[in-house]
Subunit: 315 residues, 2 copies
Amino acid sequence: MTSHGATQNGKLVVVGSLAIDTIETQGNRAAGVLGGAATYFAVAASFFAPVQIVGVVGDDFPQDELDWFRSRGIDLSGLEVRAGKTMRWTGRYHEDMNVRDTLSFEANVFDGYLPTLPAAYCDAPFVFLANIAPALQARVLDQMRAPRLVGADTMNFYIEGARADLERLLRRVPLLIINDEEARLLSGERNMVRAARKVLELGPTSLMIKRGEYGVLFFSGNSVFSAPAYPLEEVFDPTGAGDTFAGGVMGYLAATGDVSPAGIRKAIVYGSVVASFTVEAFSLDRLRTLTRDDIERRYRQFVSLTSFDVADASA
Amino acid sequence: MTSHGATQNGKLVVVGSLAIDTIETQGNRAAGVLGGAATYFAVAASFFAPVQIVGVVGDDFPQDELDWFRSRGIDLSGLEVRAGKTMRWTGRYHEDMNVRDTLSFEANVFDGYLPTLPAAYCDAPFVFLANIAPALQARVLDQMRAPRLVGADTMNFYIEGARADLERLLRRVPLLIINDEEARLLSGERNMVRAARKVLELGPTSLMIKRGEYGVLFFSGNSVFSAPAYPLEEVFDPTGAGDTFAGGVMGYLAATGDVSPAGIRKAIVYGSVVASFTVEAFSLDRLRTLTRDDIERRYRQFVSLTSFDVADASA
């Protein structure tokens, strides 16, 4: 990754799931709400840059949500609407919100879906392959002309069940964004530093490890960066925190075009900021009213939260 | 707490246990090694400031270790040597080193010990009450004339078993340094922000919550500071990490005399630095060869590890 210091056109393609979720926390329940990794990612990224979604929904997907996406500058020309039901997921969080159970999952119209990119997407300089089968992620990458930065996510299901496909994909992915459990499973190492080194041997040159309430570790070359999570009095619904983190990171990078180590560190903090808002309400609800000013304010709070070697550290 | 910007005399009193430990990790074992909270604390603090120990050992305590303490500028005139055996602890770490079992514990000469301070200790501006019974911590505090900063630790055993004594003590302790599990038990809150607020209602104006590999959260007034742990390839033996963290914090504060919010943030990073070395070997072994230069080098690595909003963040 090199820094050009300016955007090419700043466009950001994301492929991933769009879903209808039902979410249960210890005290609350939300049924039939907006979900899916691409959904969370796209809305988060749209605070920074124009986003182009690749995905599929059923004919039951709410029209007003599609209108909301468009109003946020999200290009839906790569979104297929197929006859049938949208993907559905129901999950329940434990009192320890780092733990959740999937109560039900229906792929529905996602079953057999093969992502195809509109011509207008293929020149985008930034692309994010959210958590879908590695073969489908590769298929999207095959259609991109010459992306400047490719990011990807994956999950235990593919690490265990599609290892060969995933390893093939990882050789083409400079930036991998996964959580600590996935890093452990992918590397076979419990220690995060050793896990990171092994993952970086698989192809990515940069690795972000999401640790929930403990923030993010970023490994690239010999450099390590640690960003805390924003300390919140209440995590209302952790769903989508990781996807909005990735959306904030990639959106900020696409907007600035600065993929230097310093640029990536700032992007990680912007991603952490958006994720910290996401968990304050069910589904994407907090992001519906969030403003860029809110984001900038909390970014400054991250500066204050982490500063110790500067004159104004006590802010 | 106010900042005078200069030391008074920089002296730091610590009361706590001195012990002989046997430590088992998944791959290694060390029998009959130096242990105890006051031991770890004092050696860590001695990198920064003169330390005065209050405690008790048996006549089996190794003379060469006492000589080593003295060579580090640690005042042992408040250390009683009683006929009998020194406190002994045997612990075994799980593969997840955040979890350990106590296999055996013998208080030995600590049983019935009542700390008494030499006159030369009573004017020290800094005092740390390491993890012993709150009534004994209070007894030490009663003997101090007018300390500038009082820090304390405690543990689940006293939170559950000596709650009234502990609450009485906490009203006299401006700086509490405990781990996340203790903060949860003391507050009845799982969320760290809510836990911190409740703990601060008990008396302390400042609270450091140690989170092992996830670093430290510091709460004071409306300010929150998050310091990461140093990312290590291997945690060889976590014993004493928390005590050397506290020792580094209090030692740095005693040395600089700067107890302003900015000064405390730096102290937290110095404490984190010393703790990160402690876990690299069994017992206090790594601290035997550690130099102030090693500490300064790793402090700069903490700057690099956490910087994102400055020009040289990519260092």
